[in-house]
């Protein structure tokens, strides 16, 4: 069966992914800026310049999202990424959870009860 591709949706999805990634990078930059402020390694003037640049970037991203109607797409990409990261971190922290999940899946599956061989 051929895969049907909707060009409009593809563009929207791709742009959503790019904006979501830029947002994440912006947040990392903001955290770095805050760390530097706490370490007192930035002057007042540098803080103002950095803050203005980050504010402009954030504003530009909001405009792109609104103009292209991709707010929901970006939100959905970010939620998806959050879930993947949460899941990976959770399983790395609690390997026992894997075993539990498998066990839970196997437990009480009435569809698999074999009656005729009893």
């Amino acid at each position: 069966m051929p895969i049907e591709i909707d060009e409009k949706n593809l563009k929207k999805g791709l742009l959503g992914l790019v904006v979501a990634l830029v947002e994440i990078i912006t947040e990392l930059l903001e955290k770095q800026a805050l760390l530097r402020i706490e370490n007192e390694s930035l002057s007042d003037e540098e803080i103002e310049r950095l803050g203005e640049a980050l504010a402009d970037l954030s504003e530009a991203l909001e405009t792109i999202k609104a103009d292209n109607n991709i707010e929901d797409t970006v939100e959905s990409v970010r939620c998806g990424l959050d879930e993947v990261v949460d899941d990976v971190v959770d399983k790395l922290m609690n390997p026992a959870r894997w075993a539990k999940e498998v066990e839970k899946h196997d437990r009480n599956r009435p569809g698999e009860i074999s009656l005729l061989d009893s």
């Binding site: 103002e48 803050g51 437990r107 009480n108 009656l115 009893s118």
Partner: protein, 266 residues
């Protein structure tokens, strides 16, 4: 007709010695009845051996409601039951089911006894982020100070400090919720025989729009404890920043343990 030409759709296993009909209350108005072995019984309807797919979504929904209706009705009649998930079909006739009950009698009887006079309840605790944030800002002077100073700062600095404020507030809310979650969890555990933390909440009523889910539990609660349990939850519900959704009693779907190894996850 051989036993492989037939099947029985399974609803549940109950404590009863009585062979009886529960009426035409099954999927597609099928007659539902008990198949007894000693003092336990499977509640079933006679079905074709191949699963019949629903014609449309509406019919599928109706079947699921029928399935749950039979479980509710059987719970009224027989007290505690061991419910089956929707869509469980066993190939064979009444004799096959009887042999299966005979083979697993000890297991099912033990579970029915263990779950006797108890029921499953679902608890979801929501919080109102706006009220909670307001309360938290009042208790953390550093956050309050940043919040007040932002207005007087130039654009760039204000942006950075707004981010600092947001991150600090987010962390404080998360710490507060974790601490309250432990407190509520302890309270719920004290009043339950078993508890399971639910990781996914499929449906949130309109009434809780604007609120966020803090934690959700499925609890197995003894009948004698239900009132006390409800009162404890009401105390949480009365707090301005929290709301509790407490539903049940349900058949103990999450607590039937046919392998003897359910662990308390809290």
């Amino acid at each position: 007709m051989t036993e492989t030409d037939q099947a029985r759709y399974l609803y549940l296993i109950a404590n009863t010695e009585e062979e009886r009909s529960l009426g035409d209350v099954g999927l597609g108005d099928s007659p539902v009845y008990t198949i007894v072995f000693q003092d336990i019984a499977a509640v079933v309807h006679a079905s074709k051996p191949e699963p019949e797919p629903a014609k449309n979504e509406e019919q599928a929904k109706q079947w699921i409601l029928n399935h749950n209706y039979v479980i509710d009705k059987a719970t009224e009649n027989f007290n505690t039951v061991l419910p089956f998930s929707f869509g469980c079909l066993a190939r064979g006739d009444d004799k096959t089911i009887k042999r299966w009950l005979q083979k697993n009698y000890g297991l099912y009887k033990r579970e029915l006894e263990r779950l006797k006079n108890s029921a499953e309840y679902s608890i979801q605790i929501f919080y109102d982020p706006k009220i909670l944030e307001k309360q938290i800002i009042e208790t953390i002077p550093e956050l309050k100070e940043i919040d007040q100073k932002i207005e007087t700062m130039p654009k760039g600095k204000a942006y950075i400090f707004k981010k600092k404020f947001e991150l600090g507030l987010k962390q404080a809310v998360s710490d507060h919720l974790a601490s309250m979650g432990r407190e509520f969890g302890k309270l719920i555990k004290e009043n339950s025989i078993q508890t399971i933390i639910e990781e996914k909440i499929p449906y949130v009523p309109e009434k809780y729009a604007g609120k966020k889910v803090m934690v959700a539990f499925s609890c197995l609660v003894a009948q004698e404890n239900v009132d006390r349990f409800g009162q404890s939850l009401e105390k949480i519900n009365k707090r301005e920043e929290f709301a509790v959704r407490f539903t049940g009693p349900w058949a103990p779907f999450n607590f039937v343990d046919l392998k003897g190894n359910i662990e308390d996850e809290t």
